[in-house]
Subunit: 269 residues, 2 copies
């Protein structure tokens, strides 16, 4: 199933063939930008939003993003009904863009359907810090993702599958690969990008369905721990209920289930 | 000049040839470990210390480090009098190890000789934070280095060439690619690894020269700003005097110059 398509010349290559030079700054310094998209009904979902974010990330990394991503994404999805599309641009020099198509992992479907146990873990920074210090790269989707992956491994050692990063001053930030949202008295509450988090494309798409009132504002640990429902939003898994948080049982809440199902339906309509 | 040697089979390959697969976790997630060594007098300097640190980093990234690095490093330096040796292991799967040999950059020699202007920049975390939260990967040398590079770019926008990362509670941490040391009343003062920083191999080698008393302890911003001398220690540049810090002129101090020259002499003796 894995398929690899190069941005330059829209050339299909065997994914088992080496692609990146050893001295690419994407390889040596984690200076690549990327986006992960869901392929649904043969199309890359929310492509424009992902490409806009890719451009922002590239700018923050001082990476001269080449053109042609829309055509690349569409061609990569050609003949693929469902799947995962990764768009990656390594810094080079010169920058090297490619699209990688893989199957949807079984645990993504499982997490969406049955929910995920999560724990809160500190990211060590205050909520204001990353907006004030742009070089800390809050809100940038780069391949410098080792801390994200280590956080998820750490969560698993605590018996969870997911982590919610908290600021050192007790606010909700984001998950290593997802946006966090709560349901409080029927309102979807989610932190603003001004706390240094990624602008969630799935969050944007879910809000556009207009099924629930939304309040984008800073969120305290107390609000998280007493929320009626908690969910994680990301491209491939979609809307995943947090069924337990730091040991507190939450189950699959009705608003989360409705948003999840409506979001899934919207992808194939 | 660039030369590339693979760990597996100790095979020499053209560095212009693509080496890494698009789906390698080193490429997609910055989950590679690396070490940068100086090649001096035809030998990889302080190889044992670098290999020990590489193993620690790999362990923290849950990367099954293959064997054979000493032989790889020695063979990569064969016939090279002076240069830079990068040892890298991408996570794969399977893990892919390689050695990359390049020329010593001109700015490394210039920084060592004439010193570097530096600014302090916050890393956003407290001094205790990274030791308490191991998943934040303090002290791990991975290729998730985008923040390190962005910090250096930010320092350049402020008219400096280097940055010294401070904790959010006002302690000296490290530089994006170097260890920080001060001279205070003739004593070399440098922060401990318990503040989440990398164990400096060059610092270890300089201290082994036994030319100056050393005090490894937590260091405040005030001590940094009033130090007699400030220096940055790293493998390729060696001992680089910080000639100005946040605009305060420091020049090339006598203790720093002595350590620098003694260190350089030790490399070729």
């Amino acid at each position: 199933m894995p398929q690899l398509l190069l941005l330059e010349g829209l050339r299909r290559v065997d994914p088992a063939t080496p692609l990146l030079r050893a001295d690419d700054l994407g390889v040596l310094r984690g200076e690549s930008v990327f986006e992960t998209l869901r392929i649904a009904a043969g199309r890359p979902a929310f492509l424009a939003a992902h490409l806009a974010r890719l451009a922002v990330s590239a700018d923050r990394l001082d990476l001269a993003l080449p053109q042609g991503w829309e055509e690349l994404a569409l061609m990569a999805c050609d003949g693929v009904d469902e799947g995962v599309l990764r768009l990656v641009c390594a810094k080079g020099p010169p920058p090297l863009g490619f699209a990688l198509v893989t199957d949807i992992p079984a645990d993504a479907v499982r997490g969406r359907t049955f929910g995920v146990p999560a724990v809160t873990l500190t990211l060590g920074v205050t909520a204001a810090q990353r907006a004030e210090a742009p070089y800390l790269l809050g809100g940038v989707k780069s391949t410098s993702y080792a801390v994200n992956m280590a956080t998820l491994r750490h969560a698993r050692t605590l018996g969870a599958e997911e982590a919610i990063w908290m600021s050192s001053d007790g606010e909700v930030l984001e998950a290593p690969t997802a946006t966090v949202a709560l349901i409080v008295d029927g309102v979807l509450v989610t932190p603003p990008t001004s706390v240094g988090i990624l602008a969630g494309t799935t969050l944007g798409a879910v809000l556009a369905l207009d099924r629930v009132p939304c309040d984008v504002r800073r969120v305290t640990a107390h609000e998280l721990q007493t929320a009626d429902e908690v969910m994680l939003l990301s491209s491939v898994r979609g809307v995943a209920p947090v069924v337990s948080l730091d040991g507190r049982e939450l189950g699959v809440g009705p608003v989360t289930a409705d948003l999840r199902d409506a979001f899934e339906a919207s992808l194939i309509s």
